[in-house]
Each structure stands twice: as structure tokens, then as C-alpha cells.
């Protein structure tokens, strides 16, 4: 991964679930999610029937550089 790319990565997570069914059913399997590079699909057992499974997709974008964006993230250059 290019050093410049690591700065644009964001974690996207379901933090609140307002329906009881969202937590029910399935489970019990071994988590095998790779959790990186845009693939948020995890395999912790079928939490929902394939007939009703929903999906959320989207994008994360940035406008302007945050403080520290330009510095501190690159590997220091060796002094000669």
C-alpha cells in the first residue's frame, strides 16, 4: 500500500441497531472477515436469511487536508 493511501482509509461501522431482528438468529460461526480494503462482509454465521439480507454501501471522501495530514505520516528520510 502506498503511504499516501493509508491516510484516506476510514473505518465504517454499524454502531446502532434499532430493530431487534438485527441481533437475532445465526451467529456461532468463526469470524473470518478480512476487515480491510473495502470489504466489510464478515462471516460470523448467517445473521439473517439470504432471502431478506440487506446491504449498505457508500463512499467516504475528504475535503481539504486535516492538520497533520502533510506531516508525520511519512517515513522519515535518512540523513546523509
Amino acid at each position: 500500500m502506498d503511504l499516501s493511501l493509508r491516510q484516506i482509509l476510514a473505518l465504517v461501522v454499524v454502531s446502532g441497531i434499532s430493530v431487534a431482528t438485527a441481533c437475532g438468529g445465526g451467529g456461532g460461526g468463526e469470524p473470518t472477515d478480512d476487515g480491510a480494503d473495502g470489504d466489510a462482509t464478515a462471516a460470523a454465521g448467517p445473521a439473517v436469511s439470504p432471502d431478506s439480507a440487506a446491504m449498505i454501501t457508500g463512499t467516504v471522501s475528504f475535503e481539504g487536508a486535516a492538520p497533520g495530514w502533510e506531516t508525520g505520516l511519512s517515513r522519515p528520510r535518512r540523513r546523509r
Binding site: V13, G35, A42, A43, A47, G58, V60
Partner: protein, 155 residues
């Protein structure tokens, strides 16, 4: 789930993992690295890997985010997001993400970035539907409240 040390960098830089899921920590470099996790909730660890080797660890509590540093190489940094469920992931290099196999319902979705902080949105998805959510971080958001974890210190 593997956190590799390759070329004196952590790969991936950000990773999502579930409570109890095995995290394989790999040293592909063959030189001394230490993996110093600094969680606020979970039990931290600071292990040394002087040669090409692999070590397994797991986390017992949900926590976003757990910083990881190498004290030997100060630029090495990674963040681990530990969830109690599988509905999390890291955006791709094009910013895209997807959360699949969700039960229909109303969800609060949060996006976390190491410098910009966190923002959230509420979205409702029906049976076999796909909902779209977009997050835009702007520079004036940096340093905002980070509801998923401890506020980050900007570098």
C-alpha cells in the same frame, strides 16, 4: 485476520476485527519490531518480534480504536477496531465500503478517521434492499468529538 509488518509498515493500516477473533501478527521483515497496543478498555500487550515470526492475540471487549505502535520504528502505526458484531469494515482506496448480510432495519452508521474524527448517519434498509450512505470529512472537522473511542491527539 493478519496484521503484517512488511517494509517497516503495518499492513493493513486500519483493520476491523470481532471480539474473540484471532489476530495474527506477522513479522515479514525479519528485523526487530515490537507491537505495542494501547487500548483503553481491553488488556494491552507489548510483544517483541525479532525475526520472521507470527504471534496470535485476541481482544475480549469492543473498542474503537486501539492504536498500535512500534517503538523501534516511530513512524509505524496502525489502528484496530474491535466490534461485537461483523458489520464493520475499512473503506477501500477509492473510499468505497459495503456492509453486507444485514437484517432489514434502521441502523446508525459511523465512519471513523484517524485525523478527522467520527461522523454518523442513520439509514433504513428493507428486505433485500441496498441503501447508500456517503460520508464527507472536511478539514474543519479535525479534532471533533470521536464518539466511538477516546478523542485522538492530532499530530
Amino acid at each position: 485476520m493478519t496484521l503484517d509488518q512488511d517494509g517497516c509498515r503495518y499492513t493493513p493500516h486500519i483493520l476491523a476485527i470481532q471480539v474473540g477473533q484471532s489476530l495474527e501478527i506477522k513479522n515479514s521483515d525479519g528485523i526487530l519490531h515490537n507491537i505495542n497496543t494501547q487500548p483503553a478498555v481491553n488488556r494491552g500487550f507489548n510483544i517483541s518480534q525479532p525475526v520472521v515470526m507470527e504471534t496470535s492475540r485476541e481482544f475480549s471487549q469492543p473498542e474503537v480504536m486501539i492504536p498500535v505502535k512500534c517503538d523501534v520504528h516511530g513512524w509505524m502505526e496502525a489502528f484496530i477496531g474491535v466490534q461485537s458484531h461483523p458489520y464493520a469494515g475499512v473503506s477501500g482506496t477509492d473510499g468505497s465500503f459495503s456492509l453486507a448480510d444485514l437484517p432489514p432495519g434502521e441502523y446508525e452508521i459511523e465512519a471513523w478517521h484517524e485525523l478527522y474524527g467520527t461522523q454518523s448517519q442513520t439509514v433504513t434498509v428493507g428486505v433485500k434492499e441496498t441503501a447508500e450512505v456517503s460520508f464527507t470529512f472536511s478539514s474543519d472537522m479535525a479534532g471533533n468529538h470521536v464518539p466511538l473511542g477516546e478523542p485522538l491527539v492530532l499530530r
